[in-house]
Symmetry: C2
Subunit: 241 residues, 2 copies
Amino acid sequence: MRRQSKRDKMDRLDKALDSLREGRPIFIYDADGREEETDIVFASENVSHDEVRFMRKNGGGLICTTMADDVAERIGLPFLVDVFKTAQAVHPVLRNSLPDTLPYDTKSAFSLTFNHRKCYTGITDIDRALTIAEFGKLVRSVQEKKCENPLKAFTKAFRVPGHVFLLRTSKELLKDRNGHTELSTAMCLMAKLPPTATICEMMGDDGKALTKPAARKFAESQGFIFLEGHEVQEAWDKWSG
Amino acid sequence: MRRQSKRDKMDRLDKALDSLREGRPIFIYDADGREEETDIVFASENVSHDEVRFMRKNGGGLICTTMADDVAERIGLPFLVDVFKTAQAVHPVLRNSLPDTLPYDTKSAFSLTFNHRKCYTGITDIDRALTIAEFGKLVRSVQEKKCENPLKAFTKAFRVPGHVFLLRTSKELLKDRNGHTELSTAMCLMAKLPPTATICEMMGDDGKALTKPAARKFAESQGFIFLEGHEVQEAWDKWSG
């Protein structure tokens, strides 16, 4: 295999940012020795039912919507672990079941699960797409400081719990944590999009995560961009530094 | 179409109970005018990674594990809405986002999400199957009163939050509510299995739930039993009455 030139790398990164802006998926593998999983990634605003179907058929994991920590803070969307800690006194099961450490990281990114209020059951591709795309619009308006009361806007539009998982990034994004939550949200920021991506892990037919070569092959055979976490990290360091 | 005889009905119900006991799926459509969704249903104890793959490929909805209300009570697994209510004082977003009513029912069945402690990421088919099957074993031991401390057994084996959704039935099962949570758990009880099923909604390619005729056709073409909610209800009334 020929060695990748610096030029090639930039081209692929730029193409990935174009893909996100234009509603196409990109594929991000985190890192050897971490989860070793590839996620399908869309910009949340661009998700329609076709993209939800694409994720569940070609990914097969959980369909989750990320949000940058500062946006989550402004809306008031906590980590699920923090909600559970608050409820420990009343619900003893939450006292000894919260993770101190995960095998691959120190902290889970899970926030609340939610549905748009106009959903019927919440689980159809149309319903999940509505939840995701409307959240994308809310994040844009919060990000652009056009939303006077983000908390009220959220509770007016959405109900909790629901069928889409929210994931909250770490505070300092890729400085703190290198999960798909942070990698995909950093890509949105570099694409000048609202900092929310919708992601889904790719599963293999053998019970395990789809291998990196198989995920790369799938992505490239369809003309999509496959990135590794370190490529996103390098671009981010340059962009944010 | 010929009218179904009483004999045919019983045969199909019995075949469905055999299927559950033998680790095969059954398909349950709730009712016209309710969710109008068909769920793939397995007895939780019998779930391996092949069954998880079957559900995500042929269903496409959320993979959820049910538990009878009395088992949930003995373990101490609350409805998620009740956890969120407890945390409302600290997390204002939970004050105005909880559902008073759902379009198709009065109450959501969501309890906690969880992973077995031996999971790696929690989302692979192998990991989800481990979580589900081990929960099936715990429910069996709680049901058979062989578990001295169900709460401790749960927190020792599982962590919260995770990648599998727990669903808790209504208190009086099919007397109170006729969702897939209750229908599938009632089938487990009638099959003399621990009262926990693992279920996944079937989606169509048009963004909506798979239609009843298409779900029936899929099930029957593979030699599996397709039931409607009212058939489960009739059998349950006779069995529990």
